[in-house]
Symmetry: C2
Subunit: 126 residues, 2 copies
DNA sequence: ACAAGCCTATGACGGCCGTAGTAGGATTAA
DNA sequence: TTAATCCTACTACGGCCGTCATAGGCTTGT
């Protein structure tokens, strides 16, 4: 079934992707500028990340403006997040239940959060 | 406030720890034997992991039997899981809400799961 | 036409991780 | 006592990641 080629992103790569998803299309410079100041490494560092994302198939070059390449995501935010979530679940035996149990235990989830969730599930059924 | 020294574990290190938590105390060999067959690398590989866990302060040597060292966890399962969860949350902006939203979106959480959670929260309050 | 500046392509490096081999000391079964 | 076995302490290595420098080609303002 022609596996959709697993694309594994690191945390920082995901941040680059987030920037790119927001921008839709952008040059390395634009991506760099759009990163929060506290997380803005050298130009070539960002460039390297973008290149590696390209190798991984997460972004692609769409055109050139002047001599600068313009990149766009080759992966939807949703698909990427799905991967991330799936990997996280592996840490908890593959099931969401224990993970959420931990969230609750550590007070990361309030009763309100959960009620909201429930509403979402009950309402958005199909 | 004398930070409790962050101990960052990788996935495999966590698996070793899980083994050790189950065993309470064990030698490298015992740890290795207790790993599921599909995940049982060479003896020295396990040894290296244990040594590195020792450096990270996650395990400690408690005694010797014959010439073999016996190790025990120097970190509770709960504390370790807390770290893991915290790191995961960072991927989602530090809040559990979006993470759980994704779980719901991708069908990893059922209405039942959430109701269970709610019961837990409502009941176990204080 | 040219200097100044921007971008690209490539190379590098150190740290962490998973993996394992090896030398040699310690233990044990005969 | 001695050979077989076990365990330790090191060393190594390649891959991935975050980090960046450098060389040189392209573009542009004057």
């Amino acid at each position: 079934m022609a596996r959709k080629t697993e694309i594994k992103l690191t945390r920082f790569e995901l941040e680059i992707m987030e920037a790119l998803w927001k921008l839709s299309r952008a040059s390395v410079r634009e991506i760099r500028e759009s990163l929060p100041e506290r997380r803005r490494p050298a130009y070539t560092t960002v460039q390297t990340m973008v290149y590696r994302l390209e190798e991984k198939g997460a972004v692609r070059r769409v055109k050139k403006i002047g001599n600068a390449h313009i990149f766009e995501p080759a992966l939807t935010r949703k698909a990427a997040h799905r991967q991330v979530v799936d990997h996280m679940l592996e840490w908890f035996g593959g099931s969401a239940r224990p993970l959420v149990a931990h969230l609750v235990e550590f007070g990361k989830l309030t009763l309100e959060d959960v009620r909201e969730m429930e509403k979402l599930l009950a309402g958005g059924r199909r």
